[in-house]
């Protein structure tokens, strides 16, 4: 699926949001790929992602230890990790390239920034393929507000509801929780680990100050 696509926000607010996804290709290299996925996750985890996980296993946001996530990954996994700075993303991609395990890697993020990450990591000047986000159509009035979607679209499976996001925002405004505590609470609902808690905390803080 396209669970790391369609994240909303300004260019400025997306500059600290890079999500790596690794997965095997059915009929090509999926069968028996779990050991390679685990090795890649070991590499990724050594760079301290703000979140990391796999749908069928769990993620850091839900309190699962890194070792347990890695050990439980199966051939079917779509594993992901979120990073909040470009320099680390460069190091991660360079390390994955050097490991040369033959598993596909995608990075969701600002196109210009990702191209720079690729160049710095020695992977090439531009991606192999890109899924362009062209926004959404239809009964737009049924979707959550523009502000709320800044947070909820960071979980592409939409496990983070409009209701709990707005409730957390109110708690921050009332002084009953901090933006980071609220972001961590929200990240528990994201089953795969693509939710960027650092970016979420920054957005919640800004929205609470409005």
């Amino acid at each position: 699926m396209t669970h790391t696509l369609y994240r909303e926000g300004s260019v400025e607010s997306l500059k600290n949001d890079f999500i790596f996804v690794i997965t095997g290709a059915k009929g090509f290299n999926k069968k028996g790929c779990a050991p390679r996925l685990r090795e890649m996750l070991r590499i990724i985890s050594s760079f301290n992602p703000v979140n990391m996980g796999s749908m069928e296993v769990g993620n850091l946001g839900r309190g699962m230890p890194t070792k347990e996530i890695i050990n439980n990954v199966t051939d079917a996994a779509i594993a992901q990790a979120a990073f909040d700075d470009k320099e680390t993303a460069i190091k991660v991609l360079r390390a994955l390239k050097e490991a040369d395990l033959g598993i596909s890697v995608t990075i969701s993020g600002l196109t210009d920034e990702v191209k720079e990450i690729m160049r710095e990591a020695g992977v090439g000047d531009y991606p192999h393929t890109t899924n362009l986000a062209l926004g959404f159509m239809g009964r737009r009035e049924k979707a959550a507000s523009d502000d709320t979607r800044l947070v909820t679209t960071m979980c592409g499976h939409h496990m983070i509801s409009e209701g709990i996001t707005e409730h957390m925002l109110k708690m921050i405004k009332d002084g009953r929780t901090t933006p980071m505590e609220a972001a961590i609470r929200l990240s528990k609902q994201c089953t795969c680990g693509a939710f960027n808690t650092v970016r979420a905390a920054q957005i919640l803080e800004q929205l609470a100050g409005k």
């Binding site: 699926m1 396209t2 669970h3 696509l5 369609y6 994240r7 909303e8 949001d17 996804v21 095997g24 290709a25 090509f28 290299n29 999926k30 069968k31 028996g32 790929c33 749908m55 079917a76 779509i78 994955l96 390239k97 040369d100 033959g102 596909s104 890697v105 995608t106 990075i107 969701s108 993020g109 090439g124 531009y126 991606p127 192999h128 393929t129 890109t130 899924n131 362009l132 986000a133 062209l134 926004g135 959404f136 159509m137 239809g138 009964r139 049924k142 979707a143 959550a144 909820t152 499976h157 939409h158 496990m159 983070i160 509801s161 409009e162 209701g163 709990i164 609902q189 089953t191 795969c192």
Partner: protein
Amino acid sequence: MVKDLCVACGKCALYCPVKAITVDEAAFVDQEKCVECGTCIRAECPVDALRQPDLKPPRLIRKLFSDPLATFAETEVPGRGTEEMKTNDVTNNVDFGEAGWGIELGRPGVSTSFTDVEKVAMALAEHCVEFLDLNPVSMLIDHGTGKFTENNPWKSSPSDIRRLRSLSAILEFKTTKEKVPEIIQTLKEVSGEIDTVFSVGLISRWKDGELELLPLVEEIPGVEARPNSKHNMGIGRPGSG
């Protein structure tokens, strides 16, 4: 929902992404709205009053399309059951001169009826798009007409399928790159006939440092590519399996 246990705290209602839960003396789950995504069960109910029964088709299809923890046996992919372009460096599903499409009904966060899924699929089928085989929606529809067929892995009838809802459902297909403007026009038209939203993803190869389909998109009024997208690094390769 175990009514005797429920303390009507309302926590599950806050977490429900489709607003299917209301709370009076106890929480009540509207089974028509509920998409079986499992979010309420993972919301840490203080008295463990929420349970998901052992689901059978067609109800099970709601879960398969809504709960990221459910894996489609046929595609071997959890989430919404598709590899999309994540592995395109290995599969080359979308080649030069081609456009890959991912139309995700219900997203962001609105949910969708399967009547609307069929409506959009039928509109696209009129343009002879090539629906991808390894996709859960493709397994429910006739690829020539876009209509639901009972020839599906769950042996559910088209009328039963039309009564379903899910958090989202992704139509994946390919066209030639020349068809990009007409497909977008079709999407604009059908978007006025449905009771939900859909997100539009357009998969393109890069050629000589340029995203092959971007110039075509830029010529279409009212459509804008976001500055952030998903990018395949090109470091995968075929192996066994």
